[in-house]
């Protein structure tokens, strides 16, 4: 069985769950524990990646530079990773300084049908001799043929692996099997999977991905992440161990890291709330939840209706401003049903 490369998104996707307010001591403490546990890649930063701190999607408590510098100081055995979405982040302003700070792994992400926008960022990362992966977000929104086509673009640009994200936690195992199998068959590079737990399927979906050839799997401590959270890392690694897959991770130390995360980072453990279920059913990015709740309250509309309308409109991350328009429209319809 091939080894599984684990990427820990606690300090990145987890930032979504606390409105990007992770503090310097929290980042330092968790990074130190993850380093001790030998988690291969530790992702750090704003939930939407480098350069994303903004009024639109939320301002970080710390700058990208501060977060990366703090984590870098703690990581001596494992790689420091960043998530980057071209559009939020530019090469000169965001990526080049991050690499100069010692980032080892760059995961260049785009919406699942827009891989073209990742070429320059992938090129640049390769030109600097760093590891680079392509990430296709909201992958449930594209059929497998389109996903394969987009992933092939990333491979041609020089990505050393392609990870598909179930950003809305919308997949069932059969969906994962279908997509991962197609990607593994079509690409020469490793394939990865990033789960969300809206429908309670994150571990099952991650294992399905592995069983169908994925060799890169994301997870986060206690599932700390957007919406209903991610695949719970310490559970994921335990199950992979039981199945005989090597991860190179010290599981005792990982359990200690997860305990620390629960104690020091996570104000309320991820649960599959009613809205998370709706978000998964609607196929809307889990990171929208806090915005939807707040805006629905302002406009006095049912947040579930907002989610289903957002799903109908096929919104993607970065289009958070549409939530207001949807809520406003629903409020007007309620006043004037005709």
């Amino acid at each position: 069985m091939p080894p599984i490369l684990i990427s820990d998104s606690t300090l990145r996707d987890g930032n979504h769950a606390v409105a990007h307010q992770l503090t310097a001591p929290q980042i330092a403490q968790y990074a130190r524990c993850a380093d001790a546990a030998r988690v291969p890649i530790v992702e750090v930063g704003h939930g939407n990646g480098l350069g994303a701190s903004s009024l639109q999607v939320g301002e970080s408590a710390l700058t990208d530079h501060e977060q990366l510098r703090i984590a870098r100081e703690q990581l001596s055995h494992v790689k420091l990773g960043v998530h980057i979405i071209p559009g939020f982040a530019t090469i000169n302003k965001d990526l080049a300084p991050a690499l100069a700070l010692g980032v080892d792994v760059v995961r260049v992400a785009s919406h699942c049908t827009e891989a073209d926008i990742t070429q320059r960022h992938i090129d640049y990362t390769r030109s600097q001799g760093k590891e680079v992966y392509g990430v296709l977000m909201m992958s449930h929104m594209a059929p497998r043929e389109i996903l394969v086509e987009q992933a092939l673009k990333m491979e041609s640009y020089g990505a050393e692996g392609v990870v598909i994200m179930d950003s809305a936690g919308a997949y069932l195992p059969v969906d994962v099997a279908e997509r991962i199998s197609a990607l593994v068959a079509a690409l020469r590079i490793p394939i990865g999977f990033h789960a969300h737990n809206n429908l309670g399927m994150s571990i099952a979906n991650s294992l399905t991905a592995v069983e169908h050839g994925a060799t890169i799997i994301d997870g986060s401590a206690r599932g700390f992440g957007a919406g209903a959270g991610n695949a719970q890392l310490e559970v994921l690694v335990a199950v992979l161990m039981r199945m005989g897959y090597a991860t190179g991770i010290d599981h005792y130390k990982l359990l200690e890291a997860a305990d620390l995360a629960e104690r020091e980072l996570i104000p309320s453990l991820p649960t599959i709330s009613s809205l998370s279920i709706v978000s998964g059913l609607a196929g809307v990015f889990s990171g929208f939840t806090k915005h939807v709740v707040r805006i629905a309250q302002t406009y006095q509309v049912d947040p579930r209706d907002v989610f289903f309308e957002l799903g109908r409109r096929k919104v993607v991350a970065g289009q958070e401003d549409i939530i207001i328009e949807v809520a406003d429209t629903l409020a007007k319809q309620r006043k004037d049903p005709a």
Binding site: S127, S156, R188
Partner: protein
């Protein structure tokens, strides 16, 4: 470009023409048009021709047609400033007329970068298909056309069977349509067929070259090909990262040999014939990386990305047709090619 870079290329041109005096004599005082003239192939042919103009008074006039002609001065300032070279900025698809002095044409326009193929397959195919049609139609009007060389691609063979050590020109494999490079290869196949149609119907004196893989000066290290990336990784101090277990087999020709072979095929190739152009000596990517590390002062580490079971492939030409009928052979072996490529890039970045 630094003086040392110029010296290296001049040495390359001297070496490839040494012992073969007069072999390009038929070009004397001729006018040669190269489409895609500022690309890798065009630039190297320009280097070799201008070397012969300077050292043997060959008197060839070069017309380099390219949509990127304005960038040539930055890439090769010494060539761009020469009086025996005329740069023509034009998209090959818009070529309606060729100056009547032109006696030879090398049609090399087309982008082999598979990132472009994945991102813009329509443009990739249009440049090749429509561009070739435009060149052939314009060539019909030339009163003294002596030869037209079409630069196709070894990719027209499709996937090389692992058990087949070398691909001969007679191999008739099929291109996998699911491959992201299929648009380029299919367009090249179409262009070959179009060339053949013009040869049969309009008696154009066309020969075809099918290039394989190259390594040497002027090759951009940001291109997503394994050996380019290895050299770039090495120049940056490493490590060199290999996708898979390194068992994939490629072969590499040095560009001074490429330029000489292409000119000889243009002048002496049998009309209507296709010739493979490349090195027949296959080498695994693991060994390529080892050699690059060996010849680097920095001795970079070599890492393998083996998260998946390796899918080895082979892409090596049989060049016996060119050797047997035109007497062509390699003057630069893989070790020398790697060493000179490292030297040139180090001098360029100095």
């Amino acid at each position: 470009m630094t003086t040392r870079c110029r010296e290296l290329i001049q040495e390359d041109c001297r070496l490839v023409t040494t012992g073969q005096p007069g072999s390009l004599e038929a070009l004397r005082h001729r006018t040669l048009l190269i489409t895609g003239g500022t690309g890798f192939v065009g630039t190297w042919i320009a280097e070799l021709i201008t070397f012969l103009n300077d050292t043997q008074n060959l008197g060839v006039r070069l017309l380099l047609l390219s949509s990127h002609a304005n960038d040539f001065a930055a890439k090769a300032p010494e060539l761009a400033a020469r009086t025996d070279i005329q740069l023509i900025k034009r998209d090959v698809r818009g070529l309606f007329e060729i100056t009547p002095e032109v006696e030879y044409i090398i049609h090399a326009a087309g982008n082999p970068d598979h990132r472009m193929h994945a991102t813009d397959p329509i443009s990739t195919m249009n440049v090749i298909a429509q561009g070739t049609g435009a060149v052939l139609q314009a060539a019909l009007t030339l009163p003294n056309l002596r030869g037209l060389l079409y630069i196709s691609s070894g990719l027209v063979y499709g996937q090389q069977p692992w058990e087949l050590a070398q691909l001969p020109e007679s191999y008739t494999g099929a291109i996998a349509h699911s491959s992201s490079s299929a648009c380029y290869a299919e367009a090249k196949r179409f262009a070959e067929m179009l060339c053949d149609a013009y040869r049969r119907q309009s008696r154009l004196p066309i020969v075809i070259a099918r290039p394989f893989a190259f390594i040497g000066p002027y090759q951009l290290l940001d291109r997503p090909w394994a050996i380019n990336n290895f050299i770039r990784d090495c120049l940056m101090g490493g490590p060199i990262r290999i996708l898979g277990d390194g068992s994939t087999v490629r072969s590499y020709m040095y560009p001074s040999d490429m330029a000489y072979w292409l000119l000889r095929i243009l002048l002496d190739g049998a009309i209507g014939t296709c010739y493979n152009v490349g090195s027949p000596h296959g080498i695994s990517l693991a060994k390529v990386a080892e050699r690059i590390a060996l010849y680097s002062q920095k001795r970079p580490e070599i890492l393998f990305n083996q998260a998946r079971e390796s899918q080895s492939s082979r892409f090596v030409p049989d060049t016996s047709l060119a050797s047997r009928t035109l007497g062509l052979h390699l003057t630069v072996d893989i070790d020398t090619a790697i060493q000179r490529t490292l030297l040139w890039n180090q001098a360029r970045n100095a």
